[in-house]
Amino acid sequence: MARRYDSRTTIFSPEGRLFQVEYAMEAISHAGAAIGIVSQEGIVLAAEKKIISKLLDDDKSTEKMYKLDDHIACAVAGITADANILINYARVAAQRYLFAYQEPQPIEQLVTQLCDLKQGYTQYGGMRPFGVSLLYAGWDKIHGFQLYSSDPSGNYGGWKATAIGANNQAAQSILKQEWKAELNLKEALQLAVKVMSKTMDSTSLTAEKLEFATLTRPGDEVRYRVLTDQQVEALLKEANVGAEKKEEL
């Protein structure tokens, strides 16, 4: 019934929908989940790795999380190839700002630039939209720690905690109940583990299926750290979601 209006990305359907954009979001809902949580001491990003194989060569340190600049990091969900283009664009944009103004780019500005790019693909050109949603985590001197999420339509929002990718509604509702403003980094990490364990499809959580990163500002410098396998295992053990996956009340 809606067939006639799918093929062109840049036209509306009679019901006022942009089908290609919706199909892109559908693609993302099959991709590995990613969540972000803002705490008093910094931001936690967690993601589910979809590609796990012992044949995989470890050339890049992470599959779903990337540093965009010294003070901004992101997590992606969706088509990896599309994500790589956007990440590269964001990195270059951030450096261009740094070159021009000799100070780090405010996060919302970078998010807006990327979203304007994404929106262009829904209105001009006839090329399909990017099949990626991103979570941006960063610190700037204007608003402190911030978390944003954007989707293929070019829409973005600022969040205290949010989820993208598979089962994101389930993750979002758990976050809604459990997030509080007084969380410290440790509690945020534990909350992230809890949310991931409840929303991931697999029966048991192991360090090789998950990626965790934190963005903090211990002194004068923003620090982006990806947790090592050992640290992730320790975290999983504490939350008691290892191989047996005990229920937690």
């Binding site: 990337y66 600049d69 990195r91 270059v92 450096q95 261009r96 740094l98 070159f99 000799q102």
Partner: protein, 194 residues
């Protein structure tokens, strides 16, 4: 002396290879022709723990060159997830300068670093359009003729880190005393494997 745009601001920089270490030293003067404007001007920049670059020539071009290099290096580090090798960096600077072959940046960069897992000392200099000079003893930009003469006498390939500081400092200071457009102090940076 408005004869050469390269001596408009005046600067003296030298790089030298020592035993298991490299050194790069510069003066601190920033002037406009004869008038000295600042005596704490930075001409040597740390690109990463094992790589320093000194930019001599026109000060405005040197500063812009540094900012452009910072941009390129930040992107490199984000994509490659490692620090750039000094030899790759020299090639990068050389091509950036040659891009402006017919309207160049009036900068003559000197690169000093430790290359590879064995921390082999590496120095390089280029002229303002990117012709690189790889030596394993010392280098100084064309204008500082006196510096070259002094340094040649002190070629320090056998010096260890501590003695090296003295050697570089003395070379720089004695050459600088003969050049009215450089001086007002000196900065010596030595890179060692630790």
């Amino acid at each position: 002396m408005g004869d050469s745009i390269m001596s408009y601001n005046g600067s003296a920089i030298v790089v030298m290879v020592g035993k298991n270490c490299v050194g790069i030293a510069s003066d601190r003067r920033f002037g406009v022709r004869q008038q000295t404007v600042a005596t704490d001007f930075q001409k040597i920049y740390k690109m990463h723990d094992k790589l320093f670059v000194g930019l001599s020539g026109l000060a405005t071009d040197a500063q812009t060159m540094y900012e452009k290099l910072k941009l390129r290096l930040n992107l490199y580090k984000l994509r490659e997830e490692r620090d750039i090798k000094p030899s790759s960096f020299s090639h990068l600077i050389a091509s950036m300068l040659y891009e402006r072959r017919f309207g160049p940046y009036f900068v003559e960069p000197l690169i000093a670093g430790l290359e590879g897992p064995e921390n082999k000392p590496y120095i390089c200099g280029t002229d303002l359009i990117g012709a690189p000079v790889f030596t394993n003893a010392f280098w100084s930009p064309e204008l500082a003729q006196n510096l070259v003469r002094h340094v040649r006498d002190f070629v320090a390939s056998g010096f260890g880190a501590r003695g090296f500081v003295e050697v570089m400092a003395q070379c720089l200071l004695s050459a600088v005393d003969r050049d009215c457009l450089s001086g007002w102090g000196a900065v010596v940076n030595i890179i060692t494997p630790d």
